[in-house]
């Protein structure tokens, strides 16, 4: 393996592990979703390096894009529900 290719792989692995670590420990849901999308896109680059181009396409489109948007929406709904409940408690 070429030195540049090796560096690229090490950088990708470090990035994936670092993102996963931060993702697991953050307490901010918005950050978690953004990191999830970044993680998916980095993983997609890793699939490219492993020669699985089809998998890379699927990971980018579904793993990062679609799931990321769904998570975002879910987070928003959760926040609205929590706000409603807080209001009810104040009223009652």
């Amino acid at each position: 393996m070429s030195p540049a290719g090796w560096t690229l792989d090490v950088a990708l692995v470090t990035l994936i592990l670092g993102l996963a670590w931060r993702l697991l420990w953050t307490r901010n849901l918005f950050e978690a979703v953004v990191l999830f999308v970044a993680f998916g896109l980095t993983l997609s680059l890793a699939w490219v390096r492993l020669g699985a181009t089809d998998l890379a396409l699927a990971e980018a489109a579904v793993g990062a894009g679609l799931t990321g948007a769904l998570f975002m929406h879910a987070r928003q709904r959760l926040a609205e529900k929590l706000a409603e409940r807080a209001e009810e408690e104040v009223d009652g």
Partner: protein, 94 residues
């Protein structure tokens, strides 16, 4: 030449890693949304370089998907998930 492309791609991935530090750091959700832009341009550059280095034209299609996806993710962040809510503790810049 392939080795030069590969080296540049490695440099760009390290560059994204440095940029992601800002995404993790915040402080506002808008700062975190910059991740979409970062991956939009840098990810496409990396994929185009790899397509040329590894002689894999299919990677240019992946680059196309990355470009479209960055927009979708960015708009999803703005439209679906960013309004006042009790979940966000550190939303306000000071």
């Amino acid at each position: 030449m392939a080795e030069a492309y590969m080296a540049l791609a490695a440099f760009l991935v390290v560059n994204v890693g440095a940029g992601l530090w800002r995404v993790a750091r915040g402080p506002t959700p808008a700062d975190r949304m910059l991740a979409a832009q970062l991956f939009g341009s840098t990810g496409v550059a990396v994929l185009l370089l790899l397509a040329e280095a590894a002689d894999a034209p299919a990677l240019r299609d992946v680059a196309l998907v990355f470009a479209l996806l960055a927009v979708v993710a960015g708009i999803a962040f703005v439209k679906l998930g960013w309004s006042q809510d009790p979940l966000a503790e550190d939303d306000h810049a000071d």
